[in-house]
């Protein structure tokens, strides 16, 4: 998928991606010459089709985990399908936090910290991310629209 600014005859460059949480996806592309920005908004079915290919619009920002599609997209999977407990052991419910990420989480106001932690943990688990790092938090904020968290 590519976008062409017809007026400038320029290939538009990917800007940012957001997942509002309702199954849709928004991605912006910008003409490097005139600066015009276009937003591509996909409906849930289209978003799912992209996910089912195991690719990410905008490129991967965190490394893919083994069996990532199976782990993150199968809704009838066993909770204990994957060995948990160590940082080596991927998603399941065994997602761990790096010290830097925990330090950053500690700066979140106490009354919303639990909710924020759960959002990041859900984000990581659904994508098969074994360890939550500041980079993962940044990506989650951008994708989920969680500025300020």
């Amino acid at each position: 998928m590519k976008f062409l600014c017809v007026e400038c005859d320029q290939q538009m460059a990917f800007g940012e991606r957001q997942l509002p949480g309702d199954g849709t996806l928004a991605a912006t592309f910008k003409c490097p010459k005139c600066g015009r920005v276009v937003a591509m908004l996909t409906n849930p079915m289209e978003t799912q089709l992209v996910s089912s290919l195991g690719v990410e619009i905008g490129g991967r920002t965190v490394p893919e985990q083994p069996l990532q599609t199976v782990r993150s997209m199968v809704s009838t999977g066993r909770e204990d399908a994957f060995e948990e407990g160590s940082r080596e052991h991927g998603a399941g419910s065994g997602t761990s936090w790096s010290p830097d990420a925990l330090e950053r989480l500690g700066r979140v106001p106490n009354f919303v910290r639990g909710m924020v932690k759960r959002i990041y943990a859900d984000y990581a688990r659904e994508r098969g991310i074994a360890e939550i790092t500041p980079a993962v938090m940044d990506t989650a904020r951008a994708e989920l629209g969680l500025e300020g968290m």
Binding site: Q11, A39, L41, N43, E46, Q65, T69, T76, H89
Partner: protein, 276 residues
């Protein structure tokens, strides 16, 4: 798909004409999404993972209920008994039965160094199956919109198959058997993911109905360039009448590798393993 602030909106932006507008392949700037590169990387991972596998054999039929999984599991066990390193990928994602046929232990899958370790049977057969991942008795279901799920479900299953091939630490294998579900869809996906058509072991039962369905599958395999290893005539000597295996063998110039009775002795599988 919706586009905001369309760049090519007639009446809003000068439209040079379709004839003069560059096409997809003419846009060659680096693309941060790199979807094609992501797909290429997926295929590369599969190729690297399977580089240590000497043979890949798809066990297929085109007909349901002829005993593909039964044959796959018992051939795998026989090969393991004779000292071969064997893997079984249960590609029947919606009706996986291989773990039970191999008497696999129940334990969570282990991850290390970016891969998942296959579950190994007491006889040494390495296996991955959706049955190891699903809740007991639960169907394979995916998160996502219910409406028009037929659009993406096939792609999701193909991704799962790709991950089973590329993300499982198969290690050095003499042979990797793939137990395919009825029909041809999984075989087509497999050819696409592997880049080369796998060798095919065909399973049939004696009936004309089976012959007709298996013929279509074998024709598809031949058309795609698969090597036909031979035919297993399954469930012979009982109530099922016909000569499907012999007729297919003649039609496709293939061999009938084994005739498996209703209650085969282990030696039947040993003999099949020897000629495979």
């Amino acid at each position: 798909m919706t586009y905001c602030a369309l760049v090519a909106y007639p009446g809003h932006v000068p439209w040079p004409s379709f004839g003069g507008m560059r096409t997809y392949h003419e846009l060659t700037d680096a693309d941060r999404s790199g979807l094609l590169q992501q797909i290429t990387a997926q295929r590369q991972r599969v190729a690297e993972r399977l580089a240590s596998v000497r043979r890949i054999v798809a066990v297929m039929s085109g007909k349901g209920g002829v005993g593909k999984s039964f044959v796959t599991a018992h051939v795998a066990r026989a090969l393991a008994r004779s000292g071969h390193s064997v893997g079984v990928l249960d590609a029947d994602l919606n009706g996986p039965t291989i773990p039970r046929l191999l008497s696999l232990p129940e334990a969570p899958l282990r991850q290390s160094e970016g891969s998942i370790a296959p579950v190994t049977s007491a006889e040494g057969v390495r296996c991955i199956s959706m049955a190891l991942l699903l809740e007991n008795g639960a169907p394979l279901a995916f998160k996502g919109p219910e409406a028009e799920s037929f659009v993406w479900r096939g792609a999701m299953e193909a991704s799962a198959l790709r991950e089973f091939l590329g993300d499982v630490a198969w290690g050095e294998l003499d042979i990797l058997l793939l137990d395919l579900p009825p029909g041809m869809q999984r075989y087509v996906e497999l050819c696409d993911i592997l880049g080369n058509p796998p060798a095919v072991l065909t399973v049939t039962i004696p009936t004309p109905e089976s012959r007709d369905a298996v013929r279509r599958a074998m024709r598809s395999a031949v058309d795609r360039g698969s090597d036909l290893l031979g035919i297993v005539d399954n469930m012979v000597g009982g109530e099922l009448l016909g000569a499907a295996a012999d007729e297919l063998a003649e039609e496709f110039d293939a061999r009938v590798l084994a005739r498996i009775p209703w209650h085969p002795a282990p030696t039947a599988w040993d003999r099949l393993a020897q000629v495979l």
